[in-house]
């Protein structure tokens, strides 16, 4: 492990990679700050650029964008009560009241320190958890992987659907259907191409991500007539107040950080859960931990209420890398986007990644520490200046997002067909979003589609066409039992509400 850490440090500390972390954190903070544009959009916009780099550098850049976006999301939550990303909704509960009391600077400082601590502590957990889990996951066989993918897709559908589980599952099927377009990986038989040569290689992953996130996000903002910049009129960005915390505030924050870090990391590791659930659970847990006097302050500018979700959402970001790096199975939409990008580099994440590509495995983990320091430096002294991005009018913002989406695709294929296909998918995605059909399950399914088919193929061939493989191995049966438990829970919830 020491050798791996040194390899990781060597790669992560190269000038190019430090610049990439800085660029990723900066870009992620800005995009994450803009309400409506989350880490997936930020990463999607970055993918075409990363293809010019080495895989480790590309992944370091995307990881920087990821935690930068979650970090940036807290700024808009605190200053204008408009969470930039879902993971920072809970931050607004106490961050915005603090800002209204003239303590915006303090709120931003607490958010910055908590995010830093949460991210750093969980990166340490990741350092130890990832190699151990990699060793365990070497015992996984095709049926286990297939079952694990089914579990991941079910969990993401359950957690991201806000009570609309069936809608999310339909999106999973749609994502898997899109993934089957093109040549079959084993027989090279073309499927669902309608004799169109442009579809022979399948639909590009970047195209689907750009269409379902960046482009449809932009169209949704226009459709709903939302203007993120309008909210900035509520608060003067140049008068944020002091960022210095007194002893009492520091003590409160230091009490919240350790427990929220552990909770955030564990939630992040679970498939489908991620930063949003982690932050809400940490907020709820913190409320139960504090005394009655502190409890009354929740929702009115409590330090505990701000520090807990901020710590947990950043801890969950690092935690979500565990299933991606060790099993090759992303637990969230954002890490699914990263998996897609890695596959584009020709890298297959999984239990053997830290043996075959140690520089990628370890440098990503090491770059997280560097990223956290950079984020702290970025967020504390520069936030009054960076926060001005919030005032970017949608009249400029939306065309620029469309431009980056179209250019991203154009640079990859240099043909119009992909641009038109992207516009078509974006229009459908915008319509579906309007009716609360979630997009993260679609992306996760699209990315996992080929792997899922491959593992099902192997499992069925080994068991001579019988579905006994689903319960022959105890591990497969246990994973499927979890899947059934989630489905049963969703069905129970649905009938209980009626």
């Amino acid at each position: 492990m020491i050798e791996g850490i040194l390899i990781g440090l060597q790669t992560a500390l190269s000038l190019k990679n430090i610049l990439m972390v800085m660029m990723g954190c900066f870009f992620g903070t800005i995009i994450g700050m803009l309400p409506g544009l989350g880490p997936m959009t930020a990463i999607a916009l970055m993918i075409p650029i990363t293809y010019g780099f080495e895989p480790a550098t590309g992944l370091i850049l995307m990881a920087g964008v990821y935690y930068g976006a979650v970090f940036g999301g807290s700024t808009s939550s605190i200053l204008i009560n408009a969470p930039g990303v879902p993971g920072t909704v809970a931050t607004a509960f106490d961050g915005y009241p603090m800002a209204q009391q003239g303590k915006a600077g303090k709120a931003l400082a607490i958010a910055a320190y908590s995010s830093f601590a949460g991210g750093t502590i969980s990166a340490i957990f990741l350092l130890f958890a990832a190699p151990s889990l990699s060793k365990v996951s070497l015992a996984f066989r095709s049926p286990d992987y297939f079952a694990l993918m089914v579990l991941g897709l079910t969990a993401v559908s359950a957690f991201s659907s806000k009570g609309q589980f069936l809608k999310a599952m339909m999106m999973v099927i749609l994502g898997l259907m899109l993934a089957t377009v093109g040549q079959d990986s084993l027989s090279d038989i073309t499927r669902f191409t309608f004799n169109n040569m442009n579809l022979t290689d399948g639909i590009s992953f970047v195209l689907v991500v750009m269409a379902t996130f960046a482009m449809s996000e932009a169209l949704t903002i226009i459709l709903k007539g939302k203007d993120p910049s309008r909210a900035t009129e509520q608060i003067s960005l140049s008068q944020l107040g002091s960022i210095r915390l007194d002893k009492e505030e520091r003590n409160k924050m230091l009490k919240s950080i350790p427990r929220s870090s552990v909770l955030g990391f564990l939630i992040g590791v679970l498939p489908g859960a991620g930063a949003t659930i982690a932050s809400f659970l940490a907020y709820g847990m913190e409320r139960n931990y504090v005394n009655d006097e502190e409890k009354k302050k929740f929702g009115k500018g409590s330090v505990h209420g701000l520090a807990a979700p901020e710590t947990a959402n950043n801890a969950a970001c690092s935690g979500s890398f565990v299933p991606l790096l060790t099993l090759g199975i992303p637990g969230s939409g954002t890490t699914a986007v990263m998996l897609g990008a890695l596959l584009g580099f020709g890298i297959q994440p999984g239990p053997r990644l830290y043996m075959t590509n140690p520089e990628i495995f370890w440098s990503v983990i090491m770059s997280m520490y560097i990223g956290m320091v950079i984020l702290l430096i970025l967020n504390l002294p520069l936030i009054p200046y960076i926060a001005r991005v919030l005032a970017t009018p949608k009249n400029f913002l939306i065309p620029l997002i469309l431009f980056f989406s179209v250019t991203g695709i154009y640079l990859m294929s240099f043909n119009n067909f992909d641009i038109f296909l992207m516009i078509g998918i974006a229009v459908v995605a915008t319509f579906l979003r309007l009716y609360n059909f979630p997009m993260p399950p679609l992306i996760l399914a699209f990315v996992l589609g080929a792997l899922m088919e491959e593992n099902l193929r192997r499992s069925l061939l080994i068991s001579d066409g019988s579905f006994n493989f689903l319960w022959d191995r105890p591990l497969t049966a246990i994973i499927l039992a979890f899947t059934i438990a989630i489905i049963s829970w969703q069905a129970f919830k649905s009938f209980k509400n009626k």
Binding site: I173, L174, M177, S187, R191, I423, Y435, F437
Partner: protein, 156 residues
């Protein structure tokens, strides 16, 4: 009886699944693969049936909270224009080249969305695209075909 849009979408999803199943049966697998435990048709067949099952389930189960949307407040005009201008951009990007088509796309999009600060509109279109092209072309070595700039002799 009024049917909600959510149900109509699931009905469309059912139609899509049936069409997908039909297309699955059109896949020509190799003769030696026809009766294999797994061939190119197997996974899509599962997907099609599962898609049909889910959409039927959604259709028959009573709806708790159908999505209610006030279509009067939605800005369909601006979205339609943006889609239209992006399609036009997609058409001309190969013919007119990246610089001209992108700059004009950005400029007209700003204008249509109600922007009238001409200086910013100009700066964030023509010079911005030129800088972006320089970054791609000059620094990252990514080739961008541009017949317009080639005609002017700016790029080779």
């Amino acid at each position: 009886m009024r049917i909600s849009i959510d149900k109509i979408i699931s009905l469309l999803f059912f139609v899509l699944s049936v069409f997908y199943l039909y297309q699955t049966y059109q896949i020509q697998v190799f003769s030696f693969d026809e009766h294999a435990p797994f061939n190119a048709k197997t996974f899509p067949t599962f997907l099609a049936y599962f898609g049909m099952f889910l959409s039927v389930l959604f259709l028959v189960l009573p709806e708790k909270n159908p999505t209610k949307i006030d279509h009067k407040v939605l800005d369909y005009k601006s979205v339609s224009f943006l889609i239209f201008i992006t399609v036009v951009y997609g058409f001309v990007i190969l013919k007119a080249g990246f610089f001209l088509s992108t700059s004009l796309f950005l400029f007209f999009s700003y204008y249509f969305l109600g922007e009238r600060r001409w200086k910013w509109m100009f700066l964030l279109s023509f010079p911005f695209v030129a800088l972006f092209m320089y970054l791609l072309h000059g620094l990252l070595d990514i080739y961008l075909r541009d017949p317009f700039l080639k005609m002017l002799g700016i790029i080779g």
